[in-house]
């Protein structure tokens, strides 16, 4: 069950970030992308609270840091952002640092 909640956290966060980023850059997309992003944010928040009921914080926070690396990867694929090497290394360091900090 905890992996399902973790999927809800990471999936919700990533979908919300992608929709917000794309919606804010395209005026026509704001009508539905921003409300939908808030819906995904709510899924992520709900999943986080439920995960905290069955798993320790030291598992929940580091595991959800995966969204940082996935966000960067999907920004390259879906949003067509130019992600240079320094950004890749930066995102991986940040994700690793969050894992260290939260344990």
């Amino acid at each position: 069950m905890k992996w399902l909640y973790l999927g809800g956290i990471v999936g919700g966060t990533v979908c919300s970030d992608l929709l917000q980023s794309h919606g804010m850059r395209n005026a026509n997309g704001r009508r539905w992308k921003l409300p939908l992003s808030i819906f995904f944010m709510a899924i992520s928040f709900f999943s986080f609270t439920q995960l905290l009921r069955i798993a320790p914080l030291s598992f929940a926070v580091p595991a959800s840091a995966a969204s940082i690396a996935i966000d960067t990867f999907l920004a390259r694929i879906i949003l067509r952002e130019k992600v240079e090497l320094r950004r890749w290394v930066g995102a991986i360091l940040v994700a690793g640092g969050v894992v260290l900090l939260a344990q």
Binding site: M24, R86, V94, V98, L101
Partner: protein, 206 residues
């Protein structure tokens, strides 16, 4: 512009950390008999939720100005400040590994911060569409359509820009960059049989 992005990033991080600290303070001093709903309806908790709502709106604004792959790692400095705030305000113990983590996060954020905050063409720039892949796709579709009609009416596209040629990127085309459809991108191109579509020289000879 760059200064504006950095200032906004600073405010976003600050709003996130202060919202979390206020919420934590509210939860610490909530009456034990208060349920989950009652505990978030006390004034301090409402203040924390308001600050976090402002954080969400400011972050949306920031995402309109900078790349997602820039905003996410740079704003992770909030994790570091949260750890520091926890140690300072709530006397939480952060182990040595936690401090190593904060240094690693800072290194990652600095490395990302050294890159350009936005490497996409600005949506409002009149030249943005000229460089966009969608524009190339539309032009290639148009050329294919013209080839199918004998290559006679490519010049029709050089008129005033229609909806598909507007300076802003077509969001739907960006959402679904699939294979070119059979429908020509410029549906307003008149059919070859129409008298309007015939070139003047052709009309004279006929």
């Amino acid at each position: 512009m760059k200064l504006r992005v950095w200032l906004l990033t600073f405010v976003v991080v600050l709003a996130n950390v202060s919202g979390n600290v206020i919420l934590k303070q509210a939860m610490l001093y909530a009456p034990p008999e208060a349920g989950p709903i009652a505990s978030i309806l006390q004034p301090v908790a409402i203040l924390g939720i308001s600050v976090l709502t402002a954080w969400m709106l400011l972050r949306m604004w920031l995402l309109g100005m900078a790349d997602l792959s820039f905003v996410v790692p740079v704003s992770a400095v909030g994790y570091v400040l949260a750890a520091v705030a926890g140690a300072v305000f709530f006397h939480e113990r952060v182990p040595a590994r936690g401090w190593i983590g904060t240094v690693v996060i800072m290194l990652g954020a600095i490395l990302t911060g050294l890159t350009e905050h936005s490497q996409l063409p600005a949506a409002s720039s009149p030249h943005a569409s000229l460089a966009s892949p969608d524009r190339d796709l539309l032009l290639s579709r148009d050329r294919e359509g013209a080839d199918a009609r004998g290559g006679a009416d490519v010049h029709v596209c050089a008129g005033p820009p229609g909806p598909a040629q507007s300076p802003r990127r077509d969001p739907e085309a960006a959402d679904f960059p699939g294979p070119p459809s059979e429908t020509p991108a410029f549906a307003a191109i008149p059919a070859p049989s129409s008298p309007l579509s015939a070139s003047p020289s052709k009309a004279v000879t006929e």
